[in-house]
Symmetry: C2
Subunit: 190 residues, 2 copies
DNA sequence: CCGATAACGATGCGATCGCATTGAAACCTA
DNA sequence: TAGGTTTCAATGCGATCGCATCGTTATCGG
């Protein structure tokens, strides 16, 4: 057996460099060399752990989703209304770190249009998001499944749209958050 | 004076090729050579009319926005509720051509995160969109300016979010349209 | 202590990139 | 018809790309 290194840690270091490049220059800026340089490692190392540029890019969105899931699971046990708001507000760029994360996210949304593997990861993530939100709305508001789901899709879409506007600079993060809270607590007709 | 050609026409032919490349391969797929090949012209021609790759890319979003504005202006004279729905529903990918257009649009949204000129074009376009929607809501529903604007931002964000979901395949175009119509006609609390 | 093997760093290769340059048609004016 | 100007095709260049390959180092079971 050779030298034992923390495989997960190595991969994370490299993916962190990838995220920085994507946030600053978009996925266009990603190359084995630029990511290696940003992560402060050799290009050989990147190749060793990811093999191919495409695999590296896919690993980037995969890890991003996994992190978001872990953050969400940390809210387990809190009241359904809180957990719902966590999902709706998590991606609104309040902090600088959050802004980077959500910038990377939307870079991958665009990538998903032309890349099957990325699209499937995002589709699965949004599917789970709708499921969880539907569940929380059912619990919190006592709606039936169909009504709750329609409300969930609406709230999630609103969150997406407002996040985009906050990223472009059209509105502030505070305005986006206020609009989501207002829409979430507004009573709906059938 | 030399050979007289239709400058606008030439530029449009090339940009049409650009849009196809962007829809199929994303902005990553754009190069002077690939666009020239897709448009069926020589690379020299592309250089002659746009000079630089960056200028070509910017021209792509510029023309896309101008086309949307022209389509919208064709609705002049129609009732405000119709014009509002035109803006809200225009980008929902109902037809294949519409799908290509909106795919290109979101490719540029991602590009805007790292490209100042693109960001400013998109910011101006969304600003105008909010203004127009606000005006129509005021006229149609008799709200004051602040309420109408908040409603406009909400409806536009919802439209954005639902469009994204329709693109990824999460929901159908019909479901997206139905949700927008429902939310638009739903009475709001203060 | 010694081979076997994982973990790389370094380097080379062919392809593609953006862009500058060059020169030849094509066309209008005088 | 002579000349000036626009249009544009062709080509060359240096840089960068993804990826394959090769050699070295470090580590641990036997």
């Amino acid at each position: 057996m050779p030298r034992a290194v923390d495989h997960e840690q190595r991969r994370f270091e490299i993916v962190a460099g990838l995220w920085q490049i994507v946030a600053e220059q978009g996925i266009e800026g990603v190359s084995l060399r630029t990511v290696a340089a940003r992560a402060g490692v050799s290009m050989g190392r990147v190749q060793h752990y990811f093999g191919t540029k495409d695999a590296l890019v896919v690993a980037g969105i995969d890890l991003l989703v996994k992190r978001a899931v872990i953050e969400y699971e940390a809210t387990e046990g809190r009241p359904p209304g809180d957990r719902l708001l966590h999902i709706l507000l998590q991606q609104i760029p309040a902090t600088e770190a959050g802004r980077i994360g959500v910038t990377v996210w939307y870079a991958y949304v665009a990538k998903a249009m032309t890349h099957t593997a990325v699209r499937e990861i995002l589709a699965e993530a949004t599917r789970v998001g709708v499921e969880e939100c539907t569940r929380h709305i059912q619990e919190a508001d006592g709606l039936d499944e169909a009504e709750a789901r329609s409300h969930a899709v609406e709230l999630l879409a609103l969150s997406d749209g407002l996040t985009l506007r906050a990223l472009i600079g059209d509105i502030t993060a505070e305005e986006a958050e206020a609009l989501i809270r207002a829409c979430r607590s507004r009573p709906r007709g059938s």
